[in-house]
């Protein structure tokens, strides 16, 4: 079955900016046009349509997104293939700017497949080629041509191996060999570990050999010591049991010992005999009786007498007497309290006295003034007499003064009259007497009598004035005395009260002093009685303690035997415990020793086990390394055999194709040879020219080289079994003339049994000159390729 290319539709794919459709008939199809018009893009479109990828993408020369024409959001390619006898397969592939990809396949039956992996698988099965095989057999690009023509021998060999499809074998072989070496290294590492563990095993085995024979002796010794421990534990149990029984008695012993010490300490020394205490008690009782008598406490007097007559034990009597003593003490204290009240009263009166005296002192200036006034009054009385006589004298003097005044008036009138008469006599010579009517001719002068009256009057006036002042003074004094009278009365009362208070205070002080003396004495007697009674009471208690002490001593004497037994048992118990402990330690040591032996054995066992594992692993690794080397060797052998077979087959096809496509006879023969150099297979392409075999690169022109290499690639096409009925050649022989080119394309078509050969060329004239060839001319137009 031959698969033929019928149609290619491109839209925004690589150099094509718009939608273009190319139809392909059988025969030679030449895609011609200048550089950059989309010739190679058209061939890439075929590969993309069939396989969903391109040579450049697979070689990472550009990404899939670079397949989309600049300025477009997506690219679309549709390829129609014809399967002879079956029909047309139409595949549409679309790739988006965001990386989305779609593939739709319409098979001849009209069935549609949309899953990419299914589409790819169907097309791969249809052509019998995968993409790598497609690229090295059907779509022969310039990379292979130029690499084989001008590459180094090593590079050329790699390309030829790649074209033969066997380069993977070398990789696999190398990889497996590397892993085999890695496994060998592991074997070495395991062997080293094995050696180390063997050494450890040996060492442990020696150790085990020295200690293991002693194990029986140690086990026997261990058993004997365990028996001893068991026996001692049994005895310890018995001792512990007895100790437990004795424990209460011993505890009592300890307790009584402590109590005895306490009692001894409390007693201090031996107490006085009871008889002596009875005598002392009687003395105290009588002294208390006296006190009761002194304090006039009849009731208690009787009680004390009753106690004296009582037949009770001394302790009881002491108790009762102490009770009476306490009561008397209470009364004593109450009376003392009363005494205190007297003292308080005395103090209160002293305070009143103090206030009185303060008031008296305040009144003192008034009193002095009063006394002074009294003295003044006395002095006035002494000097002028009493007030009555002063008044009488004053009245007399006033009367006398009035009389003098009248006499003075009379004399004054007489004088005036004489003066007037004298004057008239002088004027008239005679004058009638106003009194007697007689004629008077002269007047005697008597002026002196008038002047004497005046002097008396002044003396009287002075005396009256003085007496009046005295009276006035007396009145003033009397008024003031009356004014001070109240204060004087108050003062006198205060003075009297002060005297009374002083007397009362003296009386109280006397009472208090006497009472204090009395109660002080009674208090000291009561205190002495109390001390004596306390002493007797204490002595009685000590007598009691002494008795208890004797009882304790007796009990301790009884317990001493048990205590000694207990002590002995304790010692035995301690010794047993120590012995058991010592034996336990020895047993532990022996057990450790046995454990150590067991550990050595276990360790030895673990090491032997580990050794076994490692030996097993080592053997496995050894086997694995051998296996890997065999696989690597097998792959190398397969590669060699396949290479030789393919080289033979390729050489046969090469000769045939070269004869068909090369019109001249200067190249007599051609062959592909392979030889091993330094572990690598190096291919050489040789030609026979002038009867001699030489490397094709040394003898041929550039054009001849291209033709030979093209023949070689076509030979690979023929060697590989597939269903492709077309061949795609991208500018295969740029440096040869038109005749050769025509011969090449026709020869390829014929020798390879192809019905379609599609090739690209920039030489449009050559393309046009090819007889019978379909020519697709691509031209530049608005930045896009076009037909």
């Amino acid at each position: 079955m031959g698969i033929l290319l019928r149609e290619v539709k491109v839209k925004c794919f690589r150099f094509f900016c718009s939608e273009k459709t190319f139809k392909f008939d059988n025969g030679i199809i030449v895609v011609a046009g200048p550089v950059g018009v989309g010739k190679s893009s058209l061939l890439d479109a075929v590969e993309f349509g069939v396989f969903g990828t391109c040579f450049g993408v697979r070689r990472r020369m550009y990404s899939k997104l670079d397949l989309i024409h600049d300025g477009c959001d997506s690219a679309e390619v549709e390829v129609v293939l014809e399967a002879e006898g079956e029909g047309l397969y139409r595949v549409v592939r679309r790739i988006g700017r965001k990386g989305s990809e779609e593939a739709v396949l319409y098979d001849p039956s009209g069935e549609v497949f949309r899953r990419r992996n299914i589409v790819n698988e169907i097309l791969r099965e249809l052509l019998g080629l995968d993409v790598a095989e497609f690229e090295r057999t059907v779509y022969l690009n310039q990379v292979f041509l130029y690499t084989i023509s001008y590459g180094s021998p090593a590079l050329r060999s790699r390309v030829i191996d790649s074209l033969l499809g066997i380069e993977a074998l070398e990789k696999i072989s190398a990889l497996v060999s590397r892993y085999a070496r890695f496994v060998e290294e592991r074997v070495k590492a395991v062997e080293e570990e094995v050696a180390e563990i063997e050494s450890e095993v040996e060492s442990l085995e020696r150790e085990a050999a020295t200690i293991l024979p002693e194990s029986d002796v140690v086990a026997g010794e261990l058993e004997a010591k365990r028996a001893m421990v068991s026996e001692k534990r049994k005895r310890l149990g018995e001792v512990s049991e007895e100790l437990k029984r004795l424990k209460k008695s011993v505890e009592e012993y300890y307790r009584l010992q402590g109590l005895r010490e306490y009692l001894r300490e409390q007693l201090g020394g031996p107490p006085p005999p009871r008889e002596e205490l009875v005598v002392e008690f009687e003395k105290a009782r009588l002294r208390l009786r006296d006190v009761a008598k002194d304090l006039l406490l009849e009731e208690y007097l009787k009680e004390v007498d009753e106690i004296g007559e009582s037949k009770e034990v001394l302790e009881e009597r002491v108790k009762r007497l102490k009770s009476v003593l306490d009561k008397i003490w209470d009364i004593y204290h109450k009376r003392l309290e009363n005494l205190s009240e007297l003292s308080i009263e005395r103090e209160r009166r002293r305070m009143i006295l103090s206030q009185l005296e303060k008031r008296i002192i305040e009144l003192d200036p008034i009193i002095k003034e009063y006394e002074k006034l009294e003295q003044t009054l006395d002095t006035l009385r002494k000097e002028y007499g009493d007030e009555k006589s002063v008044r009488r004298r004053l009245s007399d003097l006033e009367l006398k003064y009035k009389m003098l005044e009248a006499a003075q008036f009379d004399r004054k009138c007489i004088v005036e009259l004489r003066t007037r008469l004298k004057k008239r006599i002088q004027e008239k010579g005679t004058v009638k007497c106003p009194v007697c009517g007689s004629q008077i001719q002269s007047i005697l002068a008597e002026d002196l009598a008038v002047n004497n009256v005046h002097g008396d009057k002044e003396r009287l006036e002075s005396e009256i004035k003085r007496l009046r002042e005295v009276l006035e003074r007396i009145n003033e004094v009397k008024v003031k005395l009356v004014e001070y009278e109240e204060a004087i009365v108050q003062y006198r009362e205060l003075v009297d009260r002060r005297e009374s208070l002083l007397s009362e205070i003296d009386s109280l002080s006397s009472q208090i002093e006497q009472a204090e003396i009395k109660y002080r004495e009674i208090g000291s007697r009561l205190a002495a009685i109390e001390r004596d009674l306390d002493f007797i009471d204490e002595a009685l208690k000590k007598l009691d303690l002494s008795k208890k002490l004797d009882e304790i001593e007796d009990r301790l004497e009884e317990l001493r035997g048990l205590y000694s037994r207990y002590t002995l048992l304790q010692e035995e118990q301690e010794k047993l415990r120590q012995s058991i402990e010592e034996l336990s330690r020895e047993i532990e040591d022996l057990e450790d020793e046995l454990e150590e032996k067991r550990r050595v054995e276990e360790e030895l066992e673990a090491l032997r086990s580990r050794l076994g594992e490692l030996e097993e692993r080592r053997e496995r690794y050894k086997g694995l390394a051998t296996l890997l080397y065999r696989v690597a060797e097998a792959y190398r052998r397969i590669q060699g055999e396949v290479r030789q077979e393919m080289v033979g087959e390729v050489t046969g096809h090469l000769r045939e194709i070269l004869r068909a496509i090369y019109p001249y006879r200067d190249i007599e023969d051609v062959r592909l040879a392979v030889e091993e150099k330094k572990g690598k297979s190096i291919y050489s392409l040789e030609v026979r020219v002038g009867g001699e075999w030489n490397s094709f690169s040394s003898r041929l022109s550039e054009g001849q080289k291209m033709i030979v290499v093209l023949a070689l690639l076509a030979a690979f096409f023929k060697t590989v079994k597939h269903n492709a009925g077309f061949l795609l050649l991208d500018e295969p022989v740029p440096n040869v003339d038109v005749r050769v080119k025509e011969r090449v394309f026709r020869g390829l078509s014929e020798t390879l049994g192809l019905r379609q050969v599609v090739f690209t060329t920039q030489a449009v004239d050559v393309a046009k000159s090819l007889e019978g060839a379909e020519v697709l001319i691509l031209e530049r137009g608005r930045g896009c390729a076009g037909k």
Partner: protein, 69 residues
Amino acid sequence: MSEEERFLGKSVENTLRSKIHEICDGECRKLALEILEAYVYRGERGVKEVLERVIEGGSSGDTAEGSEG
């Protein structure tokens, strides 16, 4: 599976399979085929995975004793 995940042409694979059957047997054949299968679909990475698994004892490779090449 897409063609991009295939590392060896089908015709070469078939040739190699027949060669492996021809020159290997037992464990060697088994491992060689396993390696080939791994290479076809996962390339060298697949071969490494197979070999590492075999070394760690996870495949028929761990019973390499007595295998004949």
